[in-house]
């Protein structure tokens, strides 16, 4: 189970940490907590506040624009915080700090990968996206094309991305809540699922946004406090912190640079580049992130929001690095946090840490801030999961109601009330799906879910979106063929990779047909080539219509003339 958690929590994009792990069940027993009044109290307070916000938001959620896009009334700073809240999952917080705890520098390699997509979003995507779309990225991708095929493609890309991301988050959340609050796993799944359904069905995008903003502030505040407490112990000299960490860590000085061990994040150069591509361009194609750009009033606010988000996320990743090193110094040296039986059985102080691997950050909170900070950080971790799954569910529900129901089944003639009703039903269905699959997948290593989500976002959503905005000659047929090619190859590439083919399906070692950790390098390339070649060869009547539509689309994407304004809804 521990292994699964490290996978789930590091958002393992195909990584297989080769840590010597003992039987996870007994470890979970050792740290499974009974009732902790501070943590539970803070969490209940958070839930009450968010429910009040949901009630308030529900009264402001009448139209489709309010439900999907908070009426376009979110400011740049608010949206920047909400984007950061959507993106900084508990997996980043607990997973990366745990990764730094176990491997040192390698954690930073991941952090960098998760950040570098944001500048690309700013330079190429945020503005045209905001100027062309209303509620979903499919609005943009299908702007000048035949609606039904592109909407179906975009909805498939969205739903597959959301489903696998959601499963990875739900399984990670359940396992973590079990440890932090001492709840049964399935209770945790039902609790997370129900709260998420409440937020999204009643409060729509307004409630989801505010849950994410509050969570982002709590997470940034808590992480800042921990980093300050750690650094204060070393006179605010990071060099002294690193020196102490090198002294006490079993790997010694090796933690200050890349570690090449089997299972370390970067196994081969080709895998490193492919994973890098998936992280960078997957960020540009995550539907729940793209959707956030429609909640602001205009392109200016959209740009501001991504600037703030990049700053918050980058700052947060630097904090997690300090927190990971702080844990090496304060957690691995404290006998209270070490399972002595495991230590005597030959485990290192790192792997013998109670609740290893995901507890590094919460235990550090306890070490530097006592029970109060521990309770706070535990509650923040829970809040973080709720915010992320809510954003994902809203994006999935929008793809079903706005793209599939309203545009494809009703040919764009659905009335608004019906469309909102469908999206609420879709939210409940997605919530039930998340709870059910979360419970069924408890014992599976679902880390591939996030790797798959990023690979598909980079290989289907991103190529179709960027080509539709910038390449005049793309046609409906080219987009559909290229997009599905990317989606299917990314999917197969993950299923046939060692992590899934051998790890999940239990096939013998070495039988996986694909050896690369993440298929993005090939699947992304195939998608672009598919779009290019098929569009070039397309001489149908629809194709000339698609190309003719580019001029008007491009002017609107550049100037915002005709774009949905905040007040226009």
């Amino acid at each position: 189970m521990n292994r699964k958690l490290l996978h789930a929590l590091t958002l393992g994009v195909g990584l297989t940490p080769g840590l010597a792990l003992a039987d996870g069940v007994s470890t979970a027993g050792a740290v499974q907590r009974s009732f902790d009044p501070i943590a539970v109290g803070m969490f209940v307070f958070f839930v009450l506040v968010t429910l009040v916000i949901t009630y308030w938001a529900a009264k402001r959620t009448k139209t489709a624009a309010q439900f999907y896009a908070a009426g376009g009334g979110i400011t740049g700073l608010q949206n920047g915080l909400a984007i950061a809240g959507d993106y900084m999952s508990a997996a980043s917080f607990l997973g990366i700090s745990a990764f730094v705890y176990a491997w040192g520098y390698d954690g930073l390699i991941y952090s960098v990968g998760w950040l570098v997509g944001w500048p690309i979003v700013t330079f190429l995507i945020a503005e045209p996206l905001r100027n062309l779309g209303r509620f979903t990225f499919a609005d943009v991708a299908s702007f000048r094309f035949e609606q039904a095929p592109i909407r179906v493609l975009a909805a498939c890309g969205t739903l597959v991305t959301v489903a696998f991301y959601l499963i990875a988050q739900m399984v990670g959340a359940g396992a973590l809540i079990k440890i932090l609050f001492g709840l049964e796993y399935w209770h945790a799944e039902v609790l997370v699922g129900c709260l998420m359904i409440l937020y999204v069905t009643f409060g729509g995008m307004i409630a989801t946004t505010w849950v994410q903003i509050i969570k982002a502030c709590l997470l940034l505040g808590g992480a800042t406090l921990m980093a300050i407490l750690v650094l204060a112990a070393f006179g605010f000299n990071p060099g002294a912190l690193f020196a102490k960490a090198v002294e006490v860590h079993p790997l010694g000085g090796a933690i200050m640079g890349p570690i090449f061990k089997p299972g370390a994040p970067v196994s081969t150069p080709l895998s490193a580049i492919s994973t890098g591509l998936a992280l960078m361009f997957g960020t540009c194609g995550l539907p729940h992130i793209l959707m956030r750009f429609f909640t602001v009033g205009n392109a200016k606010e959209a740009r501001k929001s991504v600037f703030f988000a990049t700053g918050f996320i980058g700052y947060f990743y630097i904090l997690t690095f300090i927190i990971g090193f702080g844990a090496i110094v304060f957690v691995s040296t404290n006998p209270d946090f070490i399972d002595q039986a495991k230590l005597q059985a030959g485990a290192s102080v790192i792997t013998a840490t109670k609740g290893f691997p995901n507890m590094a950050a919460p235990l550090l909170a306890k070490a530097v801030g006592g029970d109060l900070l521990f309770g706070f950080i535990s509650a923040v971790a829970f809040a973080t999961m709720l915010a992320v799954v809510s954003g994902l569910t809203l994006a999935g529900a929008s793809a079903i109601s706005h793209d599939l129901y309203a545009t494809v089944f009703r040919g764009g003639k659905a009335n608004e009330g019906d469309e909102i009703r469908v999206s609420k039903i879709a939210t409940v269905c997605l919530g039930v799906f998340a709870i059910a699959v979360g419970i069924l997948a408890e014992r599976l290593n679902v880390a591939f879910g996030v790797g798959l989500a990023f690979a598909i976002a980079a290989s289907c959503n991103f190529p179709v979106l960027i080509m539709s905005m910038f390449w005049k000659n793309m046609t409906t047929r080219g987009a559909v063929v290229g997009g599905f090619l990317g989606l299917i190859t990314a999917f197969l590439g993950v299923v046939l990779s060692p992590a899934v083919w051998e790890g999940i399906f239990g096939n013998p070692k070495g039988s996986a047909l694909v050896t690369i950790d993440n298929p993005a390098l090939f699947s992304m390339l195939l998608a672009f080539v598919g779009i290019y070649v098929v569009s070039k060869l397309d001489s149908s009547a629809r194709a000339s219509k698609d190309r003719a539509g580019f001029a008007a689309q491009f002017v609107r994407s550049q100037t915002g003339i005709g774009a949905e304004g905040a007040a226009a809804h």
């Binding site: 390699i109 952090s111 740009r303 980058g314 008007a552 609107r556």
Partner: protein
């Protein structure tokens, strides 16, 4: 939007200038970020000992500096673009809209 105003915008030299400069800035910065990031990844893959080397004789390594620098640069480049776009480009856009929708 009507066909006439579409053509008017496309023929407006300010519009042509806006599109050309903004696109070249966006593409240049994107390439720069890719070069920085994949340069970093290639260092990790092919020159780990360079990243693991001591920076000034202490335990802090070149890799720590490089990693943090990539994060800071990503943020600064984003800030630079947003600053240009929310300033000069938005002013141009406003002028174009005023000139062509009169």
């Amino acid at each position: 939007m009507a066909a006439t105003s579409l053509e008017a915008i496309q023929n407006n030299p300010k519009y042509q200038h806006l599109v050309a400069t903004r696109r070249s800035l966006g593409v240049t910065l994107s390439i720069l970020v890719c070069v920085i990031y994949f340069g970093f990844i290639l260092l990790v893959a092919f020159a780990p000992s360079f990243l693991g080397a001591s920076l000034t004789g202490g335990v802090t390594t070149v890799g720590i500096l490089v990693g943090v620098l990539v994060i800071v640069l990503a943020f600064l480049l984003t800030g630079y673009y947003v600053n240009r776009a929310n300033g000069a480009y938005d002013t141009l856009t406003k002028q174009i809209i005023e000139e062509t929708t009169k």
